[in-house]
Symmetry: C2
DNA sequence: ACGCAAAAATGCAGAGCCTGCAAAAATGCA
DNA sequence: TGCATTTTTGCAGGCTCTGCATTTTTGCGT
């Protein structure tokens, strides 16, 4: 819970595998039931029954009924952070983040079916969408840490020496960076969200990669009004 | 629910005033109780009792217990959109948005006490923070509409003629703008959030206006690595 | 001032959510 | 196989939330 990047190793005891299976079964059952009969009409009892466990067990896996609907791809943040750290050093922080996110999104395209069902559920349930965004925010803090580390200091993560506390020099460098890493992480996450939303209402009309590229071009050009679509000379 | 900017008129019948008072009393009671004994230990019964109404009445005002904790400043989005439309036409969209947000944040500084209590509550309750972000997202959609309008077309809002549907030409212009307005609205909201968070952990160390300015400078310079704080020559 | 219709508040029953606790089943290992 | 640990399960009980019928309050015409 305290040293930062060891949340999702591939531990493969029978115990661990079974827990993963149960968790996945609950998530999938929940999403399918939600698509079928609407989120509000899916009780914890029904989800548990469909997944073949008791009601009480459901709450051993999720803190609330709603949480099961926002737990698709919960480990994406983890992979993004690894990718940021592994990025070629000649890339700017924003470029490194962009490429890391792009790589993760390619992964997602391969689990398309579950993701599409999931998106359908969220679209019809604003309250769950809100929770989803909140989940992203948790990742955001960690991502800001990782970005700060890439820019300003040695690697407190992945080192044996002092995984929990940075050296005074590292602290100093982070302070000097100000809110930049935090802002970069937050804006990056926001960009992904907007790109996905924009693309999902134009399904098939454009490749997602193009939407993604356009989004980050806006960011790198300081969010200026796109030149190719000027406003008309005068309002009417 | 369909024509866009008429959410908060100052209707002043006795009925309306009493409803506003009851709503405000519930919100304030909830926040104070939460600061006093922790969010999780505040029941709807307690909030209702403190506000002098029945438990059942609470649910006539809020859809859920949690909602009462995220309803501080629910009409800010409305004012921001008006400010965006009223901004001098020589400002770029990003500048107009920046100034509109800055103006709103000055308003907030005057209700400081309740906001600080509220911030304290949210800091200790991630799940509520998530809901809060979700609430902001609802505003985001409307803000994107308003920005698109300012940039690309006449004013479908505030006109008598066709408040619900844009003309074909307006539609065309919006399509040409692509995801830019949406991205601008989302990034603007994110910037405010990051600025507030960054400032609130450095309370008193810096003026909020400075943090806010720095944040938007990052955005206008394409989120490049700040020049005044270069990374050291080589990692160690 | 009075009474009436609309709106709001209330009590209550009932379904669903969620938690602690202790007993029972499953698992990993010597 | 036998034992320690982990996981699942049932159950009691409190809290959240909704629909419905009833009572109280408000706005307004007379």
């Amino acid at each position: 819970m305290h040293s930062m990047l060891e949340g999702t190793p591939a531990e493969s005891g029978l115990r661990e595998r079974k827990k993963r299976a149960t968790r996945a079964a609950l998530v999938e059952a929940a999403v399918r039931l939600a698509v079928e009969r609407g989120v509000e009409n899916v009780t914890v009892d029904a989800i548990s029954a469909a997944a073949g466990v008791s009601t009480r067990t459901f709450f051993n896996y999720f803190d609330s009924r709603d949480e099961v609907f926002v737990m698709v791809g919960a480990d994406a943040g983890h992979r993004v952070r690894r990718a940021v750290l592994a990025a070629p050093p000649e890339l700017s922080p924003l470029e490194a983040l962009r490429d890391a996110l792009a790589a993760e999104l390619e992964e997602v395209e391969q689990q398309q079916e579950l993701w599409c069902l999931h998106a359908e559920v969220l679209r019809k349930a604003p309250q769950l969408l809100a929770r989803r965004i909140g989940a992203h925010m948790a990742d955001e803090l960690g991502l800001a840490e990782t970005l700060a580390e890439r820019m300003g200091a040695g690697s407190p993560l992945f080192t044996e020496e002092r995984p929990d506390f940075a050296s005074p020099e590292e602290e100093e460098r982070r302070r000097a960076l100000g809110l930049y890493p935090r802002l970069l992480a937050a804006v990056g996450g926001t960009a992904v969200r907007v790109a996905v939303e924009h693309w999902s209402v134009r399904q098939g009309e454009t490749a997602f990669a193009d939407v993604f590229r356009e989004t980050f071009e806006h960011l790198t050009t300081g969010l200026t009004l796109p030149q190719q679509y000027p406003v008309p000379a005068d309002g009417a």
